[in-house]
Symmetry: C2
């Protein structure tokens, strides 16, 4: 929440860590041109201030057998607070859902789904439309992932 101002060194730390978070403190310090100590202090602050919220591994989607990606654009029928809350819970309960955004335009929500194959996706899709009364769903099947989850330009 603390909208802390990031200087260029902070940004270069974030860039380096996005590219490879397994860097040792020495390597990181060298890369950004700081002493080990002050680099460590900055890193600690970036974590404390909630700029860096965690650390994850990148997985090969093909290797884990989840190389089907679908973007589902959803238009809802109901708009009461309770209905929307149930809808959110219902969507978030599906762990194939990677992204879930409320959007502006001729659709209300955009859901990025990963699945093992078409059958698997259909299971998710059926669940989605059974649990929620939706006005329209348009699914865009991904034919090719040209870029997936790239680093953000910090």
């Amino acid at each position: 929440m603390t909208t802390r101002q990031l200087d260029n060194i902070d940004k270069s730390i974030l860039r380096a860590l996005q590219q490879d978070a397994s860097l040792s403190q020495r390597e990181l310090a060298d890369k950004v041109g700081l002493s080990q100590n002050s680099c460590w202090r900055r890193l600690t602050r970036l974590r404390e201030d909630g700029v860096i919220t965690g650390q994850t591994v990148r997985l090969d989607m093909q290797a884990v057998g989840l190389d089907l990606t679908v973007f589902a654009m959803v238009r809802t029928r109901h708009h009461s607070a309770e209905w929307l809350e149930r809808f959110r819970k219902s969507v978030l309960a599906i762990d194939n859902v990677i992204d879930f955004f409320r959007i502006a335009g001729d659709y209300d929500y955009m859901i990025k789904i990963v699945a093992r194959d078409m059958n698997d996706f259909d299971r998710v899709y059926q669940r989605l439309i059974k649990e929620n009364e939706l006005e329209a769903v348009t699914s865009y099947i991904a034919m090719e992932a040209i870029a997936d989850s790239r680093n953000v330009p910090a």
Copy 2:
């Protein structure tokens, strides 16, 4: 490429590391119920086999000042191999592009873009349509990120 078969222990390792890749070997071994040694061997193999392709940090998009997300659906006009190659290069050269998928349906590409604000996004948008002759672009502005880049269900 080696479509290696992952057993339940491998999957629980992947789940644990997706949630927190800063886990020490001992913590990880405890979590998945393995000896430190065999856990380390599995981890090494998962990296060698390309299942785990890297390690990154999760950033708070608001804290880094990139809390505007836009999904741009693109329909292209040209379809020659050279044109498409130039188009890809043009899109990938924009570092605000986080996802870039070729899709099936009434649009050809789906581009997830992050930006500092509307002006910043407009700059990206103008660049996109100036550098490439497109037939149609529909931009869905994200009003709320209910879930962004969740863990994949390994």
